[in-house]
Symmetry: none
Subunit: 400 residues, 2 copies
C-alpha cells in the first residue's frame, strides 16, 4: 500500500489551514564558517524555531541532487522516483503553456537546413523577437487544423515549445534532433507500437515547417526533443481532500502546482505580492503553497551576500503569515542551492513546522545545523505532506 | 525505480577519488561507561570528526544483525534484502575459490559411511592435512573431466568447498546432508525442473566420492549443503562508472569485492600493508575500499582492550590517507561487534564523511554517541554509496 492509497483512505476535509512556504534553494554551505542561513539576520524565523519542531529533508535520496520538478513533487507528497516529468512537459509548464491530458509536448529549436544538412542547430541564435515572429507564422499556417491541433509557443532566442493535441498520442519517441551540426535531419522514431501515430504526426509537422519557412534565411527548419505527455498524476483534491492554492510568480512552479490540482493566481514580481494574494484569498482555500525564488537565484549565481539578503527579506514577511493564524505553518525548501556550489545540490533542506501540536525543540535559531539536531530528524521530503496533514487534523486514525 | 536504475542513469566518470575505510566491527557497547571507540585514543579520527559530517547507519534493518556479506553489500550500494548470497558462495569466496558466472558451488564435509548409514557427519574431525590429502586424491580422480569440470578446495579439518563448472547448472537443490548421524545419505533433490541437471551432476559426484574413497578408514563419503550459483549482481563499474579497487587481506572480503567488480590486490598481513598498496595504486583507481579486520576479531573474542588497541592502531594510519587528498573520505563499518556481546550485533555503525562539500557538525570526537547527534542522521547503509558519489560530484542532477 502506497502513501497515496493511505492518503485517499485517511484524509478528511476540515476547516483547518496549512501554509507551506518554500524558500527555494534555502540550504547552503559555510563560507567563512557560516552558511547563508546562519549568516542571515532572521529574527522571525528564529522565533518560530523556538516554538516549532525542526528537521532535515532529503528530496530524492541522500547524495542525489534534484531538479525543481522532482523536488517539488516530493514536497507535495508524490514519490519523485515514480512520477517522472519529461523535459518537454517541464519546458511547457515553464513557458506557461496550457497542457491537457493526452497532449504531446516537446522542446523545439529553430535550425538552419542547407543542402540536406543541419548547418546550425540554433539558427544563429536568432533574436527572441524573430522566434516570436516565426512561431506566429507557423501558428497561422496550422490555424484551424484538428487531429492534430498544433500550437507553437516561443521561448528565448531560437527556442520554442510545440503542443500536439489529438487522440491516441504517445510520448515513446526518439528525439528528432541530430544533436550535432552538419548532420542530416533525424525523424522521430517510435520506441513502441503505441507511438506510431505520434511519429507520423511529428514527422509531418517537421516537413511542413520546412515548407512554410522555405524562404527564411537562417531559421528554415525545426528540431524537437523531450517528447512528453501530460503525466498521469493524481490530484491533491482527490488524494488529500484539500482545496489548495499556489502563490508563485514563476511559470514552472505555477505549472507544477496546476499539474497536481492546485488553483493558481496571478502574482506580481515583488515578494510582497505573494502575501497580498495570500491575504486576498485566505478564506477560499485550506492549503497554500507559497514559492519564493530569490534565494535560489542568488545561490545559482554564487552570490552569498545576495542569498543572505533574500533570506532576510522573506523573514520580514513571516508576520503577515502568522497574523492569519494558520493551523500548520511549514517553512522549508525544495532543494539546497549553496552559493559555494553555484547550483542545486544534494544537501538536505532545513525544515520548520509550527503548530499547536508540534513538540518544540526550543532551538534558538532556524539553521541547517539546528535542523540537524531537530526532533523531526532527517526524513524524505515525501514525509512532509503526511506530517502537515496530520498536524492539521486532516488524517483519520489508521486501523482500530 | 530502484537506486540501481537511478545510479546507471545519473552516474558520471570523473577524476575525483573516494576512499571508503571499513573498520570491521567498529561499533561497540560500554564497559565501565565507555564503548571501545570512546575508550580509544583517536586524535586523528577526532580531528576528522571536527571537520566532517557524522551519522549512524543500519546495515539491513534496525534490530537485525547482519553477516559480513549483506553488511558489505549494503555499503557498496546493493540492497541486502534483494541480493542474497548463499552460504556456498560465501564459503567459496572466503576460501579464495575462483567462481565464474554459471559455476555451482557448495560447502562440503567429509563423513563416515558404515553399512549404509552416516555414522559421523564430520568423519571424526580429521586433521586439516588429512582433508587436504583427500581433496588432492579426489581432484586427481576428476582431473580432465568436463561437463562438469569438478574441483575441491580444502578448508579446516573435515570441511571443503566443491565447484561444479558446466552449462545449465542451477542452485535450486536441497542439501545432500541427513543433518544428523545414523541416517542414510540423502541425495540432492531439485526444487525446480531447472535444477534437474544439477541434481544428476551432484548425485553422480557423491557416488563417485564413495567409490574413490572406499578404502579410507574414516572419511569415505561426502555431504554437501548450501548449493549456490555465482549470484547475478550488477558490477560497480557499470552501475557507478567507477574503476574501484579493494585492499583487503582476508579472502572473503576480497571475494565479495571481486563479485561486485572491484580489482583486488595482494595485501600482506600487517595493517601498514594496506596503506602501502593504497599509495602504490593511488593513480590507477577512483574508488578505494580498505578493509581493516582487527577490531572485529577482537570484538568476536570479547577482548575489549584488544579492540581498543585495534582502533588506536588504525587511527595512526589516517594521515597516510589524508596525505593523498581524497575528495571524499568515509570511515565507517560493515556492522558492529561489541566486545560485550562477543559477536556481530544489530547496533548501527558510526559513520564519518569528510569532503569539502560536507557541512561540518563540529563534533569533538568520533564516537557512537557523537554520530547519533550528527547531521547525516540515521540512515540505511545502502545510503552510503549515493552519498559518497554525490559528494564526489559523480552524480548528475535528477530531473529538471
Amino acid at each position: 500500500m502506497t502513501w497515496e492509497d493511505l492518503a485517499k483512505e485517511l484524509s478528511v476535509a476540515t476547516e483547518t489551514k496549512i501554509v507551506l512556504l518554500v524558500v527555494d534553494g534555502l540550504g547552503g554551505l559555510p563560507v567563512d564558517g557560516r552558511t547563508e542561513l546562519e549568516a542571515a539576520e532572521t529574527p522571525r524565523l528564529d522565533g518560530l524555531a523556538l516554538k516549532g519542531a525542526l528537521g532535515l529533508t532529503d528530496p530524492v535520496l541522500m547524495g542525489v541532487t534534484p531538479g525543481s520538478g522532482p523536488a517539488h513533487l516530493a514536497l507535495f507528497g508524490y514519490d519523485p522516483l515514480r512520477y517522472r516529468l519529461g523535459r518537454g512537459i517541464l519546458e511547457a509548464l515553464g513557458s506557461d503553456v496550457e497542457v491537457r491530458q493526452g497532449d504531446l509536448v516537446a522542446r523545439g529549436n529553430f535550425a538552419t537546413l542547407r543542402d540536406g544538412l543541419i548547418t546550425d542547430r540554433r539558427a544563429g541564435r536568432i533574436p527572441t523577437a524573430e522566434g516570436e515572429r516565426l512561431c506566429g507564422t507557423l501558428n497561422r499556417a496550422f490555424a484551424g487544423r484538428t487531429d492534430p491541433e498544433i500550437a507553437l509557443f516561443p521561448g528565448k532566442e531560437h527556442r520554442f515549445v510545440v503542443r500536439f493535441r489529438a487522440d491516441g498520442l504517445d510520448e515513446a519517441l526518439t528525439d528528432a534532433d541530430p544533436q550535432k551540426d552538419l548532420k542530416a535531419p533525424v525523424p522521430a522514431a517510435p520506441m513502441s507500437p503505441r507511438a506510431a501515430k505520434s511519429a507520423e504526426v511529428v514527422n509531418a509537422f517537421l516537413a511542413e515547417v520546412v515548407s512554410v519557412l522555405a524562404d527564411e534565411p537562417a531559421a528554415n527548419a525545426a528540431l524537437l526533443r523531450g517528447f512528453s505527455l501530460q503525466p498521469s498524476i493524481p490530484r491533491m483534491p482527490e488524494l488529500y481532500k484539500l482545496d489548495p492554492a499556489a502563490l508563485a510568480g514563476y511559470p514552472m512552479y505555477k505549472g507544477l502546482a496546476r499539474l497536481v490540482g492546485m488553483k493558481t493566481y496571478p502574482v506580481g514580481p515583488r515578494t510582497s505580492d505573494l502575501f497580498d494574494v495570500l491575504e486576498a484569498h485566505w478564506p477560499e482555500h485550506d492549503f497554500f503553497y507559497i514559492h519564493h525564488k530569490a534565494a535560489d537565484a542568488a545561490g545559482e549565481d554564487g552570490n552569498f551576500a545576495a542569498k543572505v539578503r533574500a533570506i532576510e527579506e522573506i523573514d520580514g514577511f513571516l508576520p503577515r503569515i502568522e497574523a492569519l493564524k494558520p493551523d500548520v505553518l511549514v517553512v522549508t525548501s525544495d532543494h539546497s542551492t549553496p552559493a559555494l556550489l553555484k547550483g542545486h545540490s544534494w544537501h538536505p533542506n532545513p525544515f520548520l513546522l509550527v503548530s499547536p501540536t508540534a513538540l518544540p525543540d526550543a532551538a534558538a535559531a532556524f539553521t541547517e545545523r539546528d535542523c540537524a539536531r531537530g526532533g523531526l530528524g532527517r526524513f524524505p521530503s515525501l514525509g512532509a505532506m503526511p506530517l502537515m496533514l496530520g498536524h492539521a487534523g486532516k488524517l483519520k486514525k489508521f486501523g482500530a
